[in-house]
């Protein structure tokens, strides 16, 4: 690192964000109406604009973006142009931006025709970069980082980062990486906390993990801001960015600021003490109203998972009932800020399975067969084989997620419900 002319007497602030995934679609949604659809399409851009406005409002000195600005797989030109447009706004306001690209937006995935505004600094892909940020002609901080040259970077990039010297000014590391293993994420640019600590930087602005977390709260501060907008049911809860302030003593204060405009809510409702459809509707409406009261101008997408055993299961199992309930709830227009995405029926019937097992008839045979299926590997294999017409078909393979072993027991349970509902319901009716 070059010797600095750093002044340690200046306060400065910045916004740290990552994983914008501009123009990436929401996943895990089964149905939407046109108005909601438009909001969903615009949601990532809306979150990005919120960050830009935040930078201007807070009069930050610069913005840090730690990768995955957009998904290069989508090859969305619109996303790139919108991103540039936001940067231009910051540039006009005198705010710099420092970017390190990630696995989804490697350097080679960006259009060559984009006109990047001034004071936008992009980390190289072939070697580590350092930019000095000046305030009133004085260097207040150095920002070191590296971009992904291409998508699959699996080496530990921190090894190439220069260590901070004693006289160096406040130093920030900007990197799109995975700390540890078994994170549930693709292990791009894997490193450890110790690797990061060894650099002796003051602040590590990371990206890649979509859930916000303060990995280390001091010496250095290591933060994943998470994505500013959750895009599927696995990303519920608040999403945002970090506003970081560094005072003249290099004390760091961080503030998480919510930027999402659409939020997922996954709610479980047990049917065990709900005897009628109307009561279930009432319960869902109550829950929805409660969610609506706390949305703060956001759109809430709610998915209700029905669980437990109850007499209502028989009704719910009928063809089209769940869809009708959802349609009815949407027509109720409980709140403009809540969209009920779907009802998932994981409930079971009240049928006494042991009693059925003891029956010496066709119904009993079915239940016993199911038990055997769940146990014997060969039976499971035969089931998988029976599913091949769809899951092994060339066309379906491209778009359909394969059924893994973990799903089979659940499917077998569903099959059991289907059969028993058909046989026993009428039988009970008969008796």
């Amino acid at each position: 690192m070059e010797n600095s002319e750093a002044s340690i007497n200046n306060t400065f602030s910045f916004i740290h964000t990552a994983d914008l995934h501009l123009d990436s679609p929401f996943t895990g949604i089964t149905k939407i109406d046109p108005k909601i659809g438009t909001k969903l399409i615009k949601s990532t851009f809306q979150a990005y604009e919120t960050i830009i406005d935040l930078c201007i409002e807070k009069k930050v000195d610069f913005l840090l973006i730690a990768g995955d600005i957009y998904d290069s797989a989508d090859k969305s030109l619109y996303a790139q142009l919108k991103f540039i447009s936001g940067l231009k706004k910051l540039s006009n306001a005198g705010i710099s931006t420092y970017i390190a690209h990630g696995n989804h937006d490697p350097l080679n995935s960006w259009s060559a025709s984009l006109e990047w505004p001034e004071n936008v600094f992009i980390m190289n892909g072939d070697c580590v970069n350092t930019f000095s940020h000046k305030k009133d002609q004085t260097i207040v901080t150095r920002i070191t980082g590296i971009s992904y040259l291409h998508q699959h970077i699996t080496s530990n990039l921190t090894k190439n980062f220069p260590h901070k010297e004693e006289d160096d000014p406040f130093t920030i590391g900007l990197l799109h990486c995975t700390i540890g293993s078994n994170t549930g994420h693709e292990p791009y640019a894997p490193c450890t906390i110790q690797d990061l600590k060894d650099l002796k930087y003051d602040y590590l602005a990371l990206g890649h993990i979509h859930t916000t977390s303060i990995v280390n709260d001091s010496d250095p501060v290591i933060i994943y801001p998470g994505n500013p907008q959750g895009l599927h049911p696995g990303e519920p809860g608040p999403r945002g960015c970090y506003h970081v302030t560094v005072d003249q003593n290099r004390s760091i204060s961080t503030e998480f600021i919510e930027t999402d405009n659409i939020r997922w809510f996954i709610e479980e409702i047990s049917i065990e003490e709900i005897p009628t459809e109307q009561e279930l509707l009432d319960k869902i409406i109550d829950r929805t109203e409660s969610i609506a009261a706390n949305t703060n101008d956001r759109l809430a997408i709610c998915r209700y998972i029905l669980t437990g055993r109850g007499p209502l299961h028989t009704t719910l199992a009928k063809e089209g009932v769940l869809d009708d309930i959802v349609t009815h709830l949407r027509e109720e227009e409980i709140s403009n800020s809540v969209w009920i995405e779907q009802l998932v029926d994981n409930s079971r019937s009240l049928i006494d399975r042991n009693m059925l097992l003891n029956r010496n008839d066709f119904t009993g045979d079915i239940v016993r067969l199911i038990d055997e299926l769940s146990v014997h590997e060969r039976s499971l294999e035969s089931i998988e084989k029976s599913l091949e017409p769809l899951f092994a078909s060339t066309r379906a393979k491209k778009v359909l997620k394969k059924i893994d072993h973990e799903e089979l027991p659940d499917l077998i349970n569903q099959a059991e419900d289907i059969l028993l509902n058909k046989i026993i319901i009428e039988d009970e009716h008969e008796h």
């Binding site: 123009d23 679609p25 929401f26 996943t27 895990g28 949604i29 089964t30 149905k31 939407i32 659809g37 969903l40 399409i41 989508d74 090859k75 969305s76 030109l77 619109y78 142009l81 259009s111 060559a112 025709s113 029956r359 010496n360 008839d361 066709f362 119904t363 009993g364 045979d365 079915i366 067969l369 199911i370 299926l373 035969s382 089931i383 029976s386 599913l387 017409p389 769809l390 899951f391 078909s393 066309r395 379906a396 491209k398 778009v399 359909l400 997620k401 059924i403 799903e407 499917l411 569903q414 099959a415 059991e416 289907i418 059969l419 058909k422 046989i423 009428e426 039988d427 008969e430 008796h431």
Partner: protein
């Protein structure tokens, strides 16, 4: 249940046919064809389950040989209960059966149905009572109810159709996905996602396209720039050529001019516009010379005019006097005109004055007039007098008017009084109002008393009667009655009357009436009480009331009578008084009373009226007196005023006399005189003024005339004799003429001086002009005009050429520029050739056009690229598509899991069905299986029916499974028979064993199978009565061999019964 007896009344060929003593177990009915086996079978069916509809005539079996259509069966139930089932056709199909039990109870369909365990007719006809025809057709076993009974007994799912469930699952699976298909939901979703992928992948090219477009745009921009440069260059060249061409004429002119200039003689300079100046100068000189001549002529004329003018000096010397007099001529003339008028006016005024004096009086003359006191105090005295007199007169008049009015009022009142007196006089009332009231009061009292009197008289009569009676019985004892004094009653009565009168006059008549009534009542009460309290007394001369003892009753009556008599007497007296008061001599009848009352009322009214009139009269008299009194004062005043007027009049007369005026004159007259006198004085004054004016006028005229005369003399003129003013006028005119001449002379003199001066000036000018001319000529390098002109022409030409050269150079410079540019341009012009230039021009023009086209195309292309770039920049379609794709993928995921669950359910169900088919066949089929195995001598070991399937499959001993269609006809019959036997066996275990009727069912069986069937029949006969119809002796043999105990009935012989 067993049939014991069959009796056919009329059914088909049978009439009154009975078959008795049928036994349980097997009964073989043998009979030839047409013996009636089928008929008998049908009869049993009809008895148990009613006749078929008339539509199926073949089964109807109408009684062909007579008898009632129907018959009866005698049956015995499993519980040994015997009953008779009778059925005949009739009008009603329903309830045409009668079931008669042993215990006498009679039932109908319901009871029969119960006996038959509610068995369905189809089941009976197809399972229990069937022939070869039914046996050969599988559809007869395929009836829903039969099937239901056969097949669903073992699933435990009740009426749930497992095959429906299977179908349902299959449909659901196929609705979701088929390997080859477009309609199933998953197939559609996959197609939809693939389409979206195509669109998305197309959109994914956007960045590459964007970059490519930008690159293309850059290339085109470069091309455009190159083209523009080339165009610019060519344009420059073309412009240059245009310039050369445009300037070519100028260039040519330049060259020509230069040549011509060289040819002309050199003249260094020449005055500008020399010729013009020359001409002008010559012109000026000519003008000046003309002016000089003119001036000389004028001066000569002037001189001549001066000599012709002669002026009268003498007249001129008197000019002022003449003018003064002339100024006064108008006055003179007007005075002369006024004088006669003044005289006339004087005359008129004199006559008026005399008239005014006459108006005053004959003695009035001017002297008198002057002596009269017309001072203001005198006049004021007259005025005051007049005023005073007027005031007094006015007062007198007012008083007189007032008095007149009062008198009129008094007269009016007198008239009213007279009128009233007349009315009073006309009214003849001799009675007073008080008297009338008394009479009325008396009348009222009479009216009141009258009924009392009548009552009392009536009571008296009664008493008298009773007394007479009593007396007749008992001697009457007279009694003297001591009378209490009755005068207090009268006093009270009188007081009442006084009270009434008092109340009447006091205006409180009500009070009077009340007092009167109270006192009357008191009087009456007193009177009555005196009568009642009188002790019983005997004869007594002094009336002291010493009573004598009499019999009590008589005494009472007597007392009462007496009392009444006294009362009546008193009453009558009172009433008589009243009547007298009213003018009756006696007590009148009520009608008379009323009449009198009316009269009195009228009289009272008249009196009232009279009283009113008198009151009015009194009022009028009072008013009259008041008025009379009122008029006293004005009368006094009037007299006083009149006296006052007289004294004033006397004073006035005295005053008039003091002025020698007629004493009869009034102040108004005197005031008029004052006015006339004033007028006289004014006239006098006017006359005096007029006289003085006349004198003044005359004097003025005279003076004026004298002056004129003097003037004439001085001017040596003789008067014209007409008038002085005419003479004066003439002199004045002459003076004015002389003055004009003098002025004229002076003017001429002045003019002459001016002319001389101008002449001098003109001559000077002429000299100057000549000098100028000489200078001009010399400046033009000439000494005469012709040469000058010639030089001028040359100079002009030179100038023109020079200008031309300058213009050409200027034009060229305009196009080429200055300095080196000009030199280069000239160089180009010198080298150039107009034809070549034009050729080059065309060439460059063409090239420019080409370049323009190329440029336009490139610009269009660039614009198009720009639009595409813009479109790409705003292309949001990808976002929507990706979202829709994700939604589809999620839905596909859910559907695929649904599909998977259904497929697994299918698998499980199939497995369960397999198990079922292997291990859980219906009992019926299990039962049938053993029969079938027997029938086929073990060739087939298994019958089974797939779950909820109507299909039957058999498995031979080799394990080969065959469907029904794969079996031979006989084997099929055996199978069907086995199924029926299985049915019968199974249901026989659970309910009443119904009789079975077979009609020639073993006809196709081979001997072994027939034997086996016979064994099976025997087995069955153990539980069910079997009636076997056959025409084949072999069959009989087989059956009897298998069942030796079987009953055989020859149908042919049955007819005998």
């Amino acid at each position: 249940m067993n049939i014991e007896m069959i009796h056919i009344d009329g059914f088909g060929q049978f009439n009154q046919m009975s078959i008795n003593d049928l036994q349980p177990g097997l009964t073989i009915f043998k009979g030839n064809n047409e013996a009636g086996k089928s008929t008998l079978l049908s009869f049993i069916r009809c008895m148990l389950f009613n006749f078929p509809g008339a539509i199926s005539a073949s089964k109807f079996y109408p009684p062909l040989t007579g008898g009632n259509h129907g018959g009866r069966l005698v049956i015995t139930t499993d519980s040994n209960e015997r009953c008779v089932i009778e059925r005949y056709t009739g009008k009603k199909k329903k309830n045409n059966v009668r079931v008669t039990f042993d215990n006498g109870l009679i039932g109908a369909d319901a009871e029969l149905s119960k006996l038959l365990n509610y068995m369905d007719i189809d089941i009976f006809n197809n399972i229990y009572a069937f022939g070869l025809d039914e046996l050969q057709r599988f559809e007869t076993l395929n009836n829903e109810k039969i099937r239901a009974n056969i097949y669903s007994a073992g699933t435990g799912t009740g009426r749930v159709s497992i095959s429906d469930v299977q179908k349902n699952l299959k449909n659901s699976v196929e609705e979701l996905y088929k390997k080859r298909g477009r309609n199933p939901r998953i197939n559609q979703m996959i197609s939809s996602i693939e389409d979206m992928d195509k669109q998305i992948s197309d959109i994914k090219n956007d960045p590459a396209r964007y970059d490519s477009l930008h690159a293309d745009k850059q290339v085109i921009s470069n091309t455009i720039n190159l083209l523009k440069d080339e165009r610019s260059n060519i344009q420059k060249e073309l412009n240059h050529i245009h310039d050369l061409i445009s300037i070519w004429d100028d260039w040519k002119n330049l060259q020509d001019a230069q040549i011509n200039l060289r040819d002309l003689p050199e003249i260094e300079d020449f005055p500008e516009k020399g010729v013009d100046i020359l001409e002008r100068t010559l012109e000026k000189i000519r003008d000046v010379e003309e002016t000089i001549l003119l001036l000389e002529e004028k001066s000569q004329n002037n001189k001549a005019q001066q000599e012709r003018i002669i002026i009268d000096e003498e007249l001129l010397a008197q000019r002022d006097t003449i003018m003064d007099l002339s100024n006064g001529i108008e006055k003179y003339r007007s005075e002369k005109d006024i004088l006669p008028e003044q005289n006339q006016k004087l005359k008129d005024e004199d006559s008026i004055f005399l008239e005014l004096l006459n108006d005053l009086g004959p003695k009035w003359d001017e002297e008198t007039l002057n002596r009269f006191d017309r001072s203001i105090p005198a006049k004021e005295t007259v005025i005051q007098k007049r005023k005073l007199i007027d005031e007094v007169k006015d007062q007198i008049e007012k008083l007189q008017i007032h008095l007149t009015q009062v008198n009129l009022d008094i007269k009016k009142i007198d008239d009213d009084i007279n009128r009233i007196n007349e009315n009073i006089d006309s009214t003849t009332v001799t009675i007073t109002y008080e008297e009338i009231n008394r009479k009325l009061e008396a009348l009222r009292n009479l009216r009141q008393k009258y009924p009392i009197l009548i009552e009392k008289e009536s009571e008296l009569k009664n008493i008298q009667k009773e007394e007479a009676f009593v007396t007749a019985v008992q001697p009457a004892i007279t009694q003297s009655i001591q009378k209490a004094p009755i005068w207090p009653a009268g006093v009270m009565f009188l007081i009442g009357i006084i009270g009434f009168i008092y109340g009447y006059y006091s205006g409180i008549i009500l009070f009077g009436i009340v007092i009167f009534i109270l006192l009357c009542i008191s009087a009456v009460a007193y009177y009555v009480s005196t009568k009642q309290n009188t002790p019983i007394s005997g004869e007594n001369t002094n009336g002291t009331g010493i009573s004598q003892e009499e019999p009590k009753e008589v005494r009472n009556y007597s007392n009462l009578r007496q009392q009444l008599v006294d009362e009546i007497t008193l009453l009558k007296d009172l009433m008589l008084n009243y009547a007298n008061l009213c003018g009756f001599d006696n007590i009148p009848e009520p009608a008379l009373l009323e009449k009198r009352d009316m009269e009195l009322q009228e009289t009272a009214y008249a009196i009232k009226e009279l009283s009113g009139l008198q009151d009015e009269c009194n009022k009028l008299l009072k008013k009259r007196d008041e008025l009379t009194k009122e008029s006293e004062e004005p009368k006094k005043k009037l007299y006083s005023k009149q006296q006052s007027l007289l004294s004033i009049d006397t004073e006035w007369k005295e005053w008039l006399l003091s002025y020698n005026l007629d004493p009869t004159l009034s102040p108004e007259s005197i005031l008029e005189i004052f006015s006339t006198i004033r007028s006289c004085y004014e006239k006098q004054k006017t006359i005096f003024t007029l006289k003085s004016q006349i004198n003044t006028t005359r004097s003025s005229i005279h003076t004026y005339e004298e002056k004129i005369q003097t003037l004439l003399k001085q001017c040596g003129r003789i008067p014209c004799g007409l008038s002085f003013d005419m003479d004066l006028q003439k002199m004045r005119d002459d003076v004015e003429g002389a003055l004009n001449q003098t002025q004229q002379l002076n003017q001429l003199d002045n003019a002459y001086e001016d002319l001389i001066r101008d002449l001098h000036t003109a001559k000077n000018r002429c000299d100057n002009l000549n000098i100028e001319l000489s200078d001009l000529l010399s400046s033009g390098h000439s000494d005469n005009e012709d040469i000058f002109r010639k030089n001028a022409r040359i100079w002009e030409m030179r100038l023109e050429l020079h200008n031309e050269i300058q213009n050409s150079i200027k034009h060229i410079r305009k196009v080429s520029g200055n300095g080196e540019l000009y030199d280069n341009f000239i160089g180009d012009l010198e080298k150039a050739n107009i034809f070549d230039l034009k050729t080059d021009e065309e060439k460059y023009k063409d090239r420019l056009e080409e370049l323009d086209d190329e440029l336009s195309n490139n610009l269009d292309d660039r614009g198009a690229i720009h639009n595409k770039i813009e479109q790409l920049e705003h292309h949001e379609e990808g976002s929507k598509l990706r979202m829709e794709k994700e939604i589809q993928i999620e839905q596909l995921h859910n559907r695929s899991r649904n599909w998977a669950a259904l497929v697994i359910a299918q698998q499980i169900l199939n497995k369960a069905i397999e198990i079922y088919e292997k291990e859980r066949q219906p009992a019926v089929i299990t039962e049938a299986q053993s029969f079938f195995t027997n029938f086929t001598a073990g060739r087939y070991k298994r019958i089974y029916s797939p779950l909820d399937s109507a299909d039957i499959f058999v498995e031979d001993r080799d394990g080969k499974v065959k469907g029904i269609d794969q079996l031979s006809k006989v084997t099929k019959e055996q199978l069907y028979l086995a199924l029926r036997f299985g049915f019968i066996r199974y249901f026989g275990k659970q309910s009443e064993a119904i009789p079975i009727v077979f009609d020639e069912i073993l006809v196709n069986f081979d001997p072994v199978r027939s034997q086996n069937a016979g064994n099976a029949i025997r087995e069955l006969a153990a539980t069910n009565q079997i009636l076997f119809f056959t025409c084949h002796p072999d069959t009989v043999k087989i059956l009897t061999h298998a069942s030796p105990e079987a009953q055989v009935i020859d149908l042919d012989n049955c007819y005998e019964n």
